[in-house]
């Protein structure tokens, strides 16, 4: 199973990509570790995480096709 991870704003710059797919990941905590391993700079930034367009906190089970987004502080307007 595979999930899609989106990086927005400064985090897309830090990750060097706006989109990356991850396979074989069932828990948000595991996914976060893999992302931190891939992009160690990211931990220095302030961000929230959305799962399928909803901001979430804490542990979540993931399923195939989920869309996870790394969101820096908003700056609309």
């Amino acid at each position: 199973m595979e999930v899609k991870v989106l990086f927005f704003g400064v985090l897309a710059e830090v990750a060097g990509t706006a989109l990356k797919h991850y396979s074989d990941v069932n828990l948000m905590s595991d996914l976060k570790h893999r992302i931190s391993d891939d992009f160690p700079e990211i931990v220095h930034y302030n961000f929230r995480i959305a799962l399928n367009s909803q901001i979430i906190e804490g542990e979540q089970e993931l399923k195939a096709g989920d869309e996870i987004a790394y969101l820096p502080p908003f700056a609309g307007g």
Binding site: A50, A69, L71, P73, F74, A75, G76, G77
Partner: protein
């Protein structure tokens, strides 16, 4: 022409005029309150903002903006319409990047609901901005 929250490039005066005509068509509306956010040519450390590049999480913008409108409509019972338009991509200094347009039967609710909608957008809309300076450098800015 209906814009579903996001538009590529600036919100032009023509777009504003066209929405005003739509909103005026409700002959029970007694007042319209508009807030238009514009890119400022701010000077910092000897350089000047030329433009802002906006990016947005589009599916979440739609969900959040739907919810903001629902919240405002439920709080202010006199509202006739609430329009939100935000730019994506490049918006130059002196151009408008956000339009919030609210109609109500009477002025107080139009004015208060418009101001409230703007605050909710600043707080909740998943949009990011990169200020681009005249020396080609850039800074990511947030609303904190």
């Amino acid at each position: 022409m209906d814009i579903n929250y996001l538009i590529e490039g600036p919100v032009t005066s023509g777009i504003i005029a066209s929405y005003l005509e739509k909103m005026s068509a409700d002959r029970n509306a007694g007042g319209h309150s508009f807030f238009l956010g514009q890119v400022r040519a701010d000077a910092k450390d000897g350089k000047t903002v030329l433009a802002i590049e906006y990016s947005a999480y589009e599916s979440m913008v739609k969900a959040v903006a739907d919810k903001i409108i629902e919240t405002v409509l439920s709080e202010f019972e006199d509202l006739k319409s609430v329009i939100i338009i935000h730019s994506t991509g490049i918006v130059k200094a002196g151009e408008v990047s956000l339009a919030v347009m609210v109609s109500a039967g009477h002025r107080h609710q139009a004015i208060t609901a418009c101001a409230k909608t703007v605050e909710l957008i600043k707080e909740r809309l998943p949009v990011w901005k990169k200020e681009i300076f005249d020396d080609n450098s850039h800074i990511w800015r947030d609303n904190q």
